[in-house]
């Protein structure tokens, strides 16, 4: 009897440990050590408080264990009036020499992380700054931090560099969009996580063939993962405005991908930042733009939209509205299911606000 019980316990232990092993461990492969960022690039959170941070100048993608993996004990929503001035004072520099590369909200704690560049020339530096829910700023120390890194292949060479415009995490892969300062390439890289030395990711060339008869290379600027039915999709906004959809399963290295344009968002405009969210049973994109304000795009019908192939007068495809009173939004990220943290430019000053999702 005792022996049978022992056998049951052992079996249960085995099953439990097998189940644990079957789940991908987000901390796998992370090693403690010092990290020095040379530039402030895009950020995104993976599972369990792992922050992905791109360092475009060093052509490196880092996975950093922030240790920030518990629910917040505060229900406050981050708000920092005069964020750029405060960052300048924290970093000991003039406000005009502070640039915010990106922001990401940790979905577990609701704390906001910023990549910040300080200064130019020989004294230029980059830091990660944490904004807690009360709006206090502190540096995320990168000394002896559990981390992993991967070099982005062929990104930088001599005077060539690549501005990484956006990163996102989906199904154990990090998607990286970049724009070169030399050739006009359309690079979307996919890098498996945990990082693998043998597979540093591959570059996929995206073409834009939806306008008239001409087909061109088109750099993707910002994007967000979105499931259409059962199909994983990437919704992406090109540097020159159109919003497109790309099936994730088609994103294979060496393939020439043509995206389907689902919306034209107006001229003299650059997309800056986007999220997908759900409200009252419907899906929307919230897209910040350089010239056309903050847009709420209704994704209804995205699965059946044939793609815009004719020249359009001004706007076409999915319907959108511009959110009044939200001018100057530069960056945004989801804060829970009902809010977004936004970085708003008023005059020369950047402010951090939390808004209700429209």
């Amino acid at each position: 009897m005792l022996r049978r019980n022992l056998a049951c316990v052992l079996l249960a232990l085995c099953v439990t440990s097998l189940l644990i092993a079957a789940q991908a461990d987000p901390s796998k492969g992370l090693v403690r050590g010092d990290v020095t960022l040379t530039s402030a690039g895009p950020l995104t959170f993976g599972p369990n408080g792992i922050l992905f941070a791109a360092d475009p100048l060093a052509a490196t993608l880092y996975a950093l264990d922030t240790g920030d993996n518990k629910p917040a004990d505060s229900s406050e929503r981050p708000q920092v009036e005069g964020l750029s001035d405060k960052l300048a004072k924290l970093l000991g520099i003039n406000a005009k020499d502070v640039r915010i590369g990106d922001l990401a909200v940790n979905p577990l704690s609701g704390q906001v992380y910023l990549s910040v560049a300080r200064g130019s020339g020989a004294k230029a530096a980059a830091v990660l700054v944490k904004v807690d829910r009360k709006g206090n700023l502190s540096e995320l120390s990168l000394q002896n931090i559990p981390h992993a890194k991967v070099q982005i292949p062929n990104a930088n060479d001599k005077s060539r560099s690549e501005a990484i415009t956006h990163i996102a995490f989906l199904n154990n892969r990090v998607y990286v969009a970049g724009l070169s300062n030399e050739e006009f390439a359309s690079n979307l890289r996919t890098i498996p996580y945990p990082f693998d030395k043998a597979d540093r990711g591959a570059s996929i060339e995206i073409f834009h063939g939806a306008h008239g008869k001409f087909e061109t290379r088109s750099p993707i600027r910002v994007f967000a993962p979105y499931k259409i039915g059962e199909e994983d999709t990437i919704l992406a906004a090109y540097t020159c405005t159109p919003l497109v959809r790309l099936p994730v399963k088609a994103l294979e290295p060496g393939k020439k991908i043509k995206a389907v344009t689902v919306a034209e968002l107006g001229n003299r405009n650059r997309p800056l930042s986007m999220i997908v969210y759900r409200k009252a049973g419907k899906d929307y994109v919230l897209l910040a733009n350089s010239a056309r304000g903050l847009m709420k795009i209704n994704l209804e019908g995205i699965d059946s939209i044939p793609g815009i192939t004719e020249r359009v007068k001004d706007k076409a495809g999915l319907k959108y509205e511009t959110i009044a009173g939200k001018e100057g939004v530069q960056k945004l990220d989801a804060f829970g299911k009902e809010h977004a943290v936004i970085l708003v430019k008023k005059g020369d000053t950047l402010h951090l606000e939390t808004m209700e999702l429209p």
């Binding site: 520099i93 640039r99 020339g121 050739e183 001409f214 359009v312």
Partner: protein, 342 residues
């Protein structure tokens, strides 16, 4: 009396290249724990400057995490002590100059990019405020450049890539349909780089630079390597390649090179001249007699973004030869003995 004056010596602030030094604090050890440094003008609630405090004897040293910034005033607080000190700004006369590529005075209507080469690292941020494109009447063209927050700098901060809005180059895209192209054939323009632009040491450029150019027809076909002419180099004389058109200044230095017959790259110096139509390669070691190759990566572009592999825009309704994409193209050349040597 003398003793009393000595004891009352007031705490003072001074500067070393990397630190703020506080002397004569009554209880330096206790002050080390409470010392905070703020950037003036101080406002309640502002964060203290990141940095480390070090106690050496009775003197406190504060090293800001990123060094001291010239021109800033720092306010030091420890207990009841409060004092400010300004880091002097070095006086330097403007000396930084800029050079513009493509260097030609005739540029295609579908020109995709300019490179601005500075001879010192530049200040980043708001670069587009200092660059203007003017028409023949001196009127500013409205938003001609793709204004990227990231600003396409090279790693040294000395070269900026200025992209003409591709939305106004690509046919069939709305920006061009509605507001037209940035450049129009037959017209003249001036690219102006203003001396209001500061370098990384916060000193303005030496002078405003203006590049005047006339716009020619759009370049819509890809460059063809088999139409380039190659010289016959010998000894230390360079290989001189004359292109079928001007090529991209930066890419022609990175994506075009010389190998020996075994495909091993040959070290040497590249120069571009004649408005980027002539490419010269002088080997570090003298040529040896035999076969060499000029190798081009097919990503090599002309200034309108047409690469060896494909034009910037492909007209899908016009049949073009479907080729298997190759990543490299090459031309063979021979280094032979000159007649007088034979």
């Amino acid at each position: 009396m003398w003793m009393v004056i000595f004891l009352a010596a007031a705490p003072t602030l001074s500067l070393s290249p990397e630190e703020i030094i506080v002397r004569n604090l009554p209880d330096a050890a206790a002050a080390a724990r409470t010392l905070r440094v703020y950037v003036e003008p101080y406002q309640v609630g502002q964060p203290a400057v990141l940095g480390q405090v070090r106690l050496q004897g009775k003197t406190l040293h504060f090293a800001p995490r990123f060094g001291l910034t010239p021109g800033l005033t720092y306010r030091v607080e420890a207990g009841t002590f409060r004092q400010s000190i300004t880091v002097p700004r070095p006086q330097r006369k403007p000396s930084t100059r800029v050079q513009i590529y493509p260097s030609g005075e005739r540029l295609p209507e579908n020109l995709l990019r300019f490179y601005l080469y500075f001879d010192a690292p530049m200040r980043r941020g708001e670069v587009y405020k200092h660059v203007r494109l003017l028409d023949e009447q001196g009127k500013e063209i409205d938003i001609p450049f793709l204004e990227l927050d990231e600003e396409l700098w090279d790693p040294s901060g000395r070269r900026l890539t200025l992209l003409i809005d591709p939305g106004r180059i690509k046919r069939g895209l709305k920006p061009r349909e509605e507001i037209g192209p940035v450049l129009e054939e037959g017209k003249s323009y001036t690219l102006e780089i203003a001396d209001s632009w500061h370098d990384a040491e916060d000193v303005p450029l030496k002078a405003t630079v203006r590049k005047r150019f006339k716009v020619t027809a759009a370049l819509t076909s890809p460059p063809q390597m088999n139409r380039w002419s190659l010289s016959s180099p010998s000894d230390r004389l360079p290989l001189v390649v004359t292109f079928d058109r001007p090529m991209d200044y930066a890419l022609a230095q990175r994506l075009l090179y010389v190998t020996n017959a075994r495909g091993e790259p040959i070290a040497g110096t590249i120069t571009l001249s004649q408005n980027e139509t002539v490419w010269s390669f002088t080997p570090t070691q003298p040529w040896t007699y035999g076969e060499y190759r000029l190798v081009a990566d097919t990503r090599l572009e002309d200034p309108a973004g047409n690469s060896l592999a494909r034009p910037f825009e492909v007209d899908r309704l016009r049949p073009i030869e479907k080729k298997i994409p190759v990543e490299k193209q090459s031309r063979t050349f021979w280094v032979t003995k000159k007649d007088k040597d034979q």
